[in-house]
Symmetry: C2
Subunit: 315 residues, 2 copies
């Protein structure tokens, strides 16, 4: 099977609906909205590093797009399209069917179309570039946090990163199906990001661990932050299984895909109402301060002496 | 060196100038022009497939962006930004310095900024996604060719693809410096593409070989085509070295990065004047016909019996 036949069979689903031109020309074309900007993000997944050869192809297809949609969510952007560049060791039709089933299921749910990309032979790697609409000036950047703002996080934290460690240790069978699904098929917080455009001052998605990602907000906004240990929405399964290291895990675990955001205190009730409407817990876990440091404090206000290191991709 | 330090040292050149937000947030932001569209394209280069380990890093940096700029040129788009996703077996500072020198030299010449991307450890691969502005409705698509249109090609053809073969055969030393430069540092026809917006009816860049790429125009436009052998602007070096297979090489060789385009006959003098202004030969090599077939004919109008196969990336 040649490259064109491969694209036709597995990737080309006919003319683009949400863009003027999709697959099949030298470029795809994107039509911006009036007074709109385009948010763009790109994530590269490599076999052996970001996933293993035995991952379910449908889970991989889901996750490859989900991590990009999570970046769009963190900017408050509304996804509409993506490019897929994939290098494949060979043409495994069953694998391609599974991969594209997972990919297109989440793509369709978010009305995010495949607009083009590239396909070649090589070691398995997947690079998706995703596009979203955002009104000019409304994007949630990392540099907007102000002293006095509250610090919030969506959902539960610590669960997926703990589950990864359990799998590495050969104890994957003990993870609940709910948590395994959160790990293998993370749900990007797209609706939350869009609603936060007018409520939050800064946002980021949790990919490098809570403290690492908070560090990005703090650096870019030139502020400091306090985190209240007792307010962290730690996954119940992690607390039950490893109570003595649950807080460290929740502070440092990567690949969680929740949103960490800051907002002025006057938006507290609106944010609480938003969480109820989306059926997504939103926890107020601290505040932005003057300065440049991050302090984690226990229930009595005493700072933690040492903070766990954050996740980095080269080590 | 961690990922953030790597990005800071080699890739981050300060705040974006032509876009509202570049490197360092969850997404980059693109500001469209009024009544404008955004052309996007992505090319993936894999070591051992698209280049070899001994390629000069500066040439690789040049070529990785050039192939994408060539796709933008073929749409008539004006480049302004790109994303770079790269997986590296390790951090080789001399290699990174060479690679980024070649990359940023061509990027700066085309005022095309690095806006973001991803960096990870893994087998060497380079995926660039490039963005260009094009007025709404003005993009040069593959599906606009009309029966009666002339068929044109820019520059010379057959040279780079022939030179690749010579290198494979261990005769690379006999290639002229000019041709080696065209092969290693192809110049995307960006200015030509922009000027053709109002003159051409369809365009494509030569990456799969002239007949292969003409096949894409013919398929998408639902037309046929005639190519005049005698009008092909075959590289003089190829004609001199291999006269008996020069035409086949010129018809089938990939990775040439010239533009193949169609235009109504009334634009002939404007196109000739454009070629003179850009100091770029533009050759009229045939015409678009009704039907669905491609015919190559010799100086006496006799069709070639068999046509060479085009280049494909999976075999």
């Amino acid at each position: 099977m040649g490259e064109f036949e491969l694209i036709r069979r597995f990737f080309d689903r006919g003319p683009a609906r949400r863009s003027p031109l999709g697959i099949g020309d030298d470029c795809a074309l994107i039509a911006p909205r009036e007074h709109g900007q385009i948010a763009v993000t790109s994530d590269l997944l490599i076999e052996g590093r970001h996933f293993f050869a035995d991952v379910l192809p449908a889970d991989l297809g889901h996750k490859a797009l989900a991590v990009n949609l999570s970046d769009l969510a963190a900017m408050g952007a509304e996804p509409f399209g993506f490019l897929l560049s994939v290098s494949l060791p060979g043409i495994d039709e069953a694998w391609l069917e599974g991969f594209t089933a997972g990919l297109f299921a989440i793509a369709d749910r978010h009305r995010c179309e495949l607009l083009g990309g590239d396909t070649t032979a090589g070691p398995l790697s997947i690079n998706i570039t995703a596009f979203g609409h955002v009104p000019a000036g409304a994007a949630l950047r990392r540099d907007g946090a102000q002293p006095g703002d509250d610090l919030w996080v969506s959902g539960e934290i610590g669960g997926p990163s703990w589950a990864v460690g359990e799998r590495y240790a050969g104890r994957g069978g003990a993870i609940s199906a709910t948590l395994a699904a959160r790990l293998d098929r993370p749900e990007p917080r797209v609706a939350l990001g869009i609603e936060l455009r007018h409520l939050a001052s800064a946002a980021i998605d949790l990919s490098d661990g809570l403290l690492g990602d908070l560090g990005h907000i703090v650096d870019r906004s030139r502020v400091g932050a306090e985190v209240d240990e007792a307010a962290l929405p730690i996954a119940a399964e992690l607390v039950a299984a490893a109570p003595q290291r649950a807080i460290e895990q929740a502070l440092s675990g990567g690949d969680e895909y929740e949103l960490l955001f800051t907002a002025p205190p006057e938006n507290r009730s609106a944010i609480a109402a938003l969480g109820q409407r989306l059926e997504l817990p939103l926890a107020r876990i601290g505040r932005i301060r003057d300065g440049a440091s991050i302090v984690v404090q226990d229930a009595r206000g005493r700072p933690r002496a040492s903070l766990p290191r954050s996740h980095e991709h080269f080590g």
